[in-house]
Symmetry: C2
Subunit: 110 residues, 2 copies
């Protein structure tokens, strides 16, 4: 039970991960490992097993596309790129997120 902290945070992360990914990719193309690093830097801990299926899901929804690129070291990298549809979705998510922040605040303050 000492990990209640992490459970709470993990629980809250769910549902905003797709939003976070689109946020990151809206600024620059990136491959999975670098997305992981940026999420980690932003305080959103995620693991590979979560991120990869999520990227595939978003690609299948047409929110992302990707291209292969040589790596200076190691195997080639799959660079994900946000699509127009992805940018539209991101706008949706911006709105949804702001609404939720407002909702929580309203519920918390009374």
């Amino acid at each position: 039970m000492e990990s209640t902290n992490e459970n709470v945070r993990s629980q809250m992360r769910k549902g905003v991960l797709e939003y976070c990914i689109l946020c990151i990719l809206s600024r620059t193309e990136a491959y999975a490992s670098s997305i992981l690093e940026q999420l980690k830097a932003g305080g959103m801990l995620v693991v590979e097993g979560t991120l990869y299926p999520l990227l595939i899901r978003q690609k299948n929804q047409g929110l992302l596309s990707y291209r292969w690129e040589e790596s200076p070291q190691g195997p080639p990298r799959k660079y994900y790129v946000i699509t127009d549809k992805g940018r539209a979705q991101l706008q949706e998510m911006d709105a949804a997120w702001q609404e939720m922040v407002a909702s929580i605040e309203s519920l918390r303050k009374g």
Copy 2:
């Protein structure tokens, strides 16, 4: 596909519902239907089938207790009450929530 909006919002709601319930109950005791109303008023749409199991879960975790009370009309009501443990958890969730808001902002702004 026209309900993308609602999917996004529904997705984001997950993980913060328990937080919302504790927020509401931290101010006053309430029975399920009135909690539903308050969530709705706060912009967090939820349905019975979601709320009831959630209340039971939180009760089993010792975050809530309840007592029965006569209703002026209809069957008796189950009034839920937040416990000391629930208040401690609420503080945890406050912290987790604020961290997540900061994380998202950091990722969104770059």
